[in-house]
Symmetry: C2
Subunit: 351 residues, 2 copies
C-alpha cells in the first residue's frame, strides 16, 4: 500500500541530528565535554542503596528532590522545573512560549538542540553569527535583531563549541530589550566559568536559566536537568510538561551529587588545569585556538580537521570535528591533566 501518511512540513525540512555517540567505550573520550573521570562515587553508593525491585515499579515522585535541588541552587522550589536533561528544558520552554511561525533568535554556532526544538515547533529561526575573528558574542547585532516578533532566544553561557562567554551586563541588555520574549541562559558549563544569571531572575520575568547534571556532575547517562524561572512562569512550563518525564534514579542521583560539592570543586580545578595545558600545548605546536570558559578548547586544524580527528581516533583518543560550524575547527574536552598530556602527545605525533 502506498502511504498517504505525510509528516509535517516542519519535520520534513529538518536534517536528522545524529551525534556520533557509538563505539566510544574503552577510548579516551574528549569528544562530548563530559566529566572524563565519572560522577562522584557517593552517587553510585546512594543508587546502590536505594535500588529495589519494588522502588522501580512506582511512578516517579519528586517531592524530596525538588526542594533539595532548589536549596542547592539557591531558588525557591516553585522556581524550579526538573527536566529530562537540558534537552527537555529547551523543548518545554519552546512549547510554552513559541507558536508555529513565531520567531526564535539564536546565536550561531551553538548547542544544536536550540535549533532542533525550534524547528520541531515550526518557528521562524533567525541566527546571528558569533564574531568570526575571536568567536565573541555578537551583542550589538543580537540586540538589533530583537524585534516585536521575537518570542524566544536561547544562549549558552559559556557557549559550546566556541567556549566564549558573555557577562551579566550583556545578559541584562538582552533581557531589557526583549521583555516580551523568553530568554534562556543555558549554564551547562557554569561551574567552569563561575558567572550565573540566577541572581537576575527576581528582576526579569522573562529570564530562564538552565543547569545540567551531564557535565561537571558526570551524569550524562542519567538525563537530568533543571530549568529556573519566576514561579508564575514555572507554573506555565509545568502545564506543558509530562508529569513523569524525569527518571526516578536520575532524581535520586542528583540528590546525592549535590551533597558531594567537594568532588565537583576538585574536578573543576583539575579540568581548568588541563585546559591551561591544552592551550599551552596548542601554542607550542603553533595551532591557533580560542580561549575558552568551558571544559573544552576549540582549535583550528584548517584543512586537516577531519584527518586529525580520524588519526586521533585510531590512536584511541576521541575529539569532535566542528568544521560544519566553524571551518577547520576541532573541539577537545579538558578532563584531567594526564588526559590532556595524552591528547597532546598524540596530536604532536600527527601534526
Amino acid at each position: 500500500m502506498v502511504s498517504e501518511l505525510k509528516p509535517r512540513q516542519a519535520v520534513l525540512k529538518m536534517t536528522p541530528y545524529s551525534p556520533p555517540t557509538g563505539g566510544r567505550a574503552g577510548k579516551l573520550r574528549l569528544d562530548f565535554n563530559e566529566n572524563t573521570v565519572g560522577c562522584s562515587p557517593t552517587v553510585i553508593e546512594f543508587l546502590r542503596e536505594r535500588l529495589s525491585a519494588d522502588g522501580l515499579s512506582i511512578y516517579p515522585e519528586y517531592d524530596e528532590t525538588r526542594p533539595e535541588l532548589a536549596a542547592y541552587f539557591g531558588v525557591a522550589p516553585d522556581q524550579l522545573l526538573l527536566t529530562n536533561g537540558t534537552d527537555e528544558a529547551i523543548q518545554v520552554l519552546i512549547n510554552t512560549y513559541v507558536d508555529d511561525g513565531d520567531e526564535v533568535l539564536l546565536p550561531r554556532p551553538s548547542y544544536a538542540m536550540y535549533r532542533f526544538y525550534s524547528e520541531v515547533a515550526g518557528a521562524a529561526i533567525r541566527e546571528i553569527d558569533y564574531r568570526a575573528e575571536d568567536l565573541s558574542f555578537p551583542l550589538d547585532e543580537f540586540l538589533a535583531a530583537i524585534g516585536p516578533r521575537t518570542r524566544a532566544t536561547l544562549i549558552a553561557n559559556p557557549n559550546n563549541p566556541t567556549g566564549t562567554a558573555i557577562g551579566l551586563d550583556a545578559i541584562e541588555k538582552i533581557l531589557a530589550a526583549a521583555p516580551h520574549a523568553a530568554v534562556l541562559i543555558d549554564e551547562a558549563y557554569f561551574e567552569f566559568y563561575g558567572v550565573t544569571a540566577l541572581g537576575l531572575m527576581a528582576r526579569y520575568p522573562n529570564l530562564f536559566v538552565s543547569r545540567t547534571f551531564s557535565k561537571v556532575f558526570g551524569m550524562a547517562a542519567m538525563r537530568m536537568g533543571c530549568l529556573f524561572g519566576q514561579a508564575e512562569n514555572v507554573a506555565f512550563l509545568h502545564k506543558a510538561q509530562s508529569p513523569y518525564s524525569v527518571n526516578q534514579l536520575a532524581a535520586l542521583a542528583a540528590r546525592a551529587a549535590i551533597r558531594d560539592t567537594q568532588y565537583v570543586r576538585d574536578y573543576v580545578g583539575e579540568a581548568l588545569a588541563a585546559r591551561d595545558m591544552l592551550c599551552q600545548g596548542l601554542e607550542r605546536l603553533s595551532i591557533p585556538f580560542f580561549p575558552s570558559q568551558g571544559n573544552f578548547v576549540l582549535f583550528r586544524a584548517g584543512g586537516r580537521a577531519i584527518e586529525i580527528r580520524d588519526k586521533l581516533r585510531a590512536m584511541g583518543v576521541l575529539v569532535r570535528d566542528r568544521s560544519y560550524e566553524i571551518a577547520g575547527s576541532v573541539r577537545v574536552t579538558a578532563g584531567t591533566r594526564e588526559q590532556a598530556a595524552r591528547f597532546l602527545k598524540a596530536l604532536e605525533e600527527i601534526w
Copy 2:
C-alpha cells in the same frame, strides 16, 4: 516589573495535569496500575552489576538495546523507537504528524496524555465517548468521525480506565478509514489482554504501536517505552526526537527485563487471578463493575466514590477516583490475590 511575557494560547487554555503521585510509600498501591510486586530481581542485579561512576558520565548509547528489544518484540531494529516512557512516544508521534490546528480524534475517556500533547501541539481535538452502557469502544461513531482533516488518532487497547478492548478487525477498519492519519494503538496493557496490532504493521503504513515497561515489567520509575511503525515512518519520528531522551539505566534495565519472560508470565497469571477475585468480590457486594482486559477494574461507587477512595486511603489502600471521567467510578489495580483480598476486606468494611 510587570511581565510582558505571555505563554501560548494553547498552553493558557490547558488545565494543569497533576496525578496524585505523592505520599504513596508504605501503602498498598492499587491506584496507578503498576506492577504491585516490583520488577524482576534480575533487573536489579543487572543494574547493580553495570552501575559505575564512569558509566554514568557518558551520554546514552542504544546500540545494544535497540536490536535486543526489536528481537523481543518481533520487529526490525529500524521499526523501533526507544522513548522516555509512552509519554514521549505520544509526544513524538504528535510532533511528527500534527500541525497547529490539525484535527486529532480521541476516544473518551482514555489516557490523559493523548489529549495533553494534542493540546500542547495546538491541535483541534475531537472526542468520541465510549458507550455509556458498557463502556465499549464506539466503533461506528469513531469511523463516522474520521474525516480528511483527521491527522492522528490515539487508542489505548485495552483502554484505561474503562478496561475495555477492541479486536483486530475494528483496528483494521480504523486503519483503512484513515490512511492519511497516524493511528496509534497504545498497548500499555497488552500482556493482560494478549492481542496485539503489531502483526498489522506490514500492511498499514499509518499504524503505530506503543509498548511500555511501566506496567507488567514493573519499571514505572525508569520511564522506558517503545514506539513501533514502518521503518520509513520511524525515520521521520527520529527526526523529531532528541538523540538522548532515554536514560541509559532505563535502557539497560529493559534489556534485563525482557530476558526474564518467566517473571512476566507469572505476574500476568497472578494479576489475572486477582482480577477475577476483584470481580467476584464486587459482585458479592452488589457493586456494579465493568469487565476488564487490563490489570485493573473500574467499578461504580455512585455518589460514594470520593468517600470510598478517602476511607480506603485511611486504611492504607490506594485506589483512583475516576468520577471526573465516568460519574461515580473508582479504579482499582489487580495485583496479587493477597492484595485483592486485602482491598476487598477493606471495601466490605466501608460499604
